[in-house]
């Protein structure tokens, strides 16, 4: 079943930092500034996973964050999608095979879109969020 149009026009994102260096997080904030004005597309940052449609996950998933990431994923209401922002979350990046890293993210929760870069540009992050909807539609996750 295809998602109705209003779903694509009102994506609320929640930002989960799972041990990132803060570089990606700053780029996410940059994507929300008036210069990029994501509210044009209905994309809004929420303060709680309960309101979110898209989880923006940054960082390689450190040991303490493992259970938290799973829990936040479960707290998000369906239909939902995970967008990994940055090289760390996608592959481990500079923290690859570190003793403290349990990731990358797709070993913990299902991932819809990978946004590569260290850190990615804000345009790429916005593009990733928009692509997450297409993924949701293909997978037919909606109900």
């Amino acid at each position: 079943m295809a998602l109705p149009r209003s779903f694509k026009k009102a994506l609320w994102v929640f930002h989960v930092a799972t041990g990132s260096c803060n570089g990606c997080d700053i780029e996410i904030v940059a994507a929300l500034t008036p210069r990029y004005d994501t509210e044009r597309f209905g994309i809004m940052l929420t303060g709680t996973p309960r309101h979110a449609d898209v989880l923006l996950v940054t960082g390689p998933v450190t040991r303490p964050m493992l259970s938290r990431l799973k829990r936040i994923y479960d707290q998000t209401p369906d239909p939902k999608a995970v967008v990994v922002v940055g090289g760390c979350g996608s592959t481990g990046g500079v923290f690859y095979e570190s003793y403290n890293v349990q990731g990358p993210v797709d070993e913990v929760v299902p991932v819809a879109v990978y946004v590569p870069g260290c850190p990615p540009r804000p345009e790429a992050i916005i593009d990733g969020v928009v692509k997450a909807v297409a993924h949701l539609e293909q997978a037919g996750v909606s109900k």
Partner: protein, 331 residues
């Protein structure tokens, strides 16, 4: 004065759907204009409709720690309470649907119900964020209620001294007799003070910046609403939109109930239509100055600052307004 069952039902349906639509449209204007003021393009005007539709599709999660029936019941209570107020308010030239069955005091109580519903829902969610939000909402409710009550009661009392015998607590009577022309210069000063205090109470009643401490996304993660998702959140969203209409309709009924049809010499259906349009404009002006401009121009206050603001300066101002109205009567 009684209303027929048919009028009540049909009028009720029109008012309910109309106010829901109108609330969402005005919310769209709110977001668009706020974006323009911040140098952004902003979302389309239909954005609130998208948001609500989307929320209706989303899963409705009830947290494990929540008291389920309270948690699910409070969004309904909140929406029902704000919708009920609309039946007692004069809307654009039309008398209140239930005029004769309830008055200003009932409206004052009903206005507190959505806030109380949110408080109970927040406590029922069993999340620390929601609990902190509920406590803050309680503090705020206690702060703004006093100036609000003084304002409403002063207006009704002054009208009672001018029109002895009339049912001056009825909003229809108040809207039909604007006080501005009936009082002396002192009374006008008093009315201005009361109007200002009501306008300052409005954003607090609506939990908008700078008084959005119960929701405060950046510090307590959405506060009261932190655990709400899906359909329940959509209902709170709608209740918020309708409450915006309710508060501004109350300001309009108390202080600017003028129509333009009579001065323009229009009567009948055309006159009613023009008056209804003019009413929408008046509501918009009130929302523009109490919500949109204020929201963009200010930062969030702290909870103690809000309490102090309403308990000292705003209460003093409302009391001063009342004293001026009383002096106007005596002198």
């Amino acid at each position: 004065m009684t209303v027929g069952i048919a009028t009540a039902v049909w009028g009720g349906i029109v008012v309910l759907f109309g106010s829901g639509l109108l609330g969402l449209v005005y919310k769209g204007f709110d977001r668009k204009l706020a974006a323009h003021m911040q140098g952004r393009i902003g979302p389309p005007l239909r954005q609130p409709f998208y948001d609500v539709t989307k929320l209706m599709i989303k899963e409705n999660i009830v947290p494990d720690h929540a008291v389920t029936w309270l948690f699910n019941g409070m969004p309904v209570v909140s929406l029902a309470a704000v919708a009920t107020i609309l039946f007692y308010l004069p809307l654009g030239g039309f008398a209140p649907l239930f005029s004769g069955y309830g008055d200003l005091i009932l409206v004052l109580y009903l206005l507190a119900v959505p806030a109380l519903a949110m408080i109970i829902g927040g406590f029922a969610a069993g999340s620390p964020y929601a609990t902190v939000g509920a406590q803050r909402e309680m503090v705020m409710l206690m702060s703004y209620e006093f100036p609000l009550a003084i304002t409403l009661v002063s207006v009704a009392w002054r009208l009672a001294t001018i029109l002895p015998g009339a049912h001056t607590f009825s909003l229809a009577v108040i809207a039909a007799h604007p006080l501005w022309g009936m009082v002396g210069p002192l009374g006008v000063i008093g009315l201005v003070l009361l109007l200002i205090s009501l306008l300052v109470v409005t954003p607090a009643e609506l939990s908008k910046i700078p008084f959005d401490i119960p929701e405060a996304e950046t510090e307590i993660a959405g506060g009261l609403l932190a655990e709400y998702s899906g359909r329940n959140l959509a209902m709170f969203y709608l209740a918020d939109a309708v409450k915006m209409i309710v508060m501004s309709a109350l300001v309009v009924a108390l202080f600017i109930p003028y129509g333009i049809a009579a001065p323009l010499g229009l009567a009948g259906a055309l006159g009613a239509f023009i008056d209804a349009l003019f009413f929408l404009v008046k509501i918009f002006v009130v929302i523009f100055f109490t919500v949109i401009v204020v929201r963009v121009g200010f930062a969030r206050l702290k909870v103690d600052q809000v309490a102090r603001l309403f308990w000292l300066p705003m209460t003093a101002m409302a009391l001063l307004g009342m004293i001026f109205l009383a002096l106007d009567r005596i002198l």
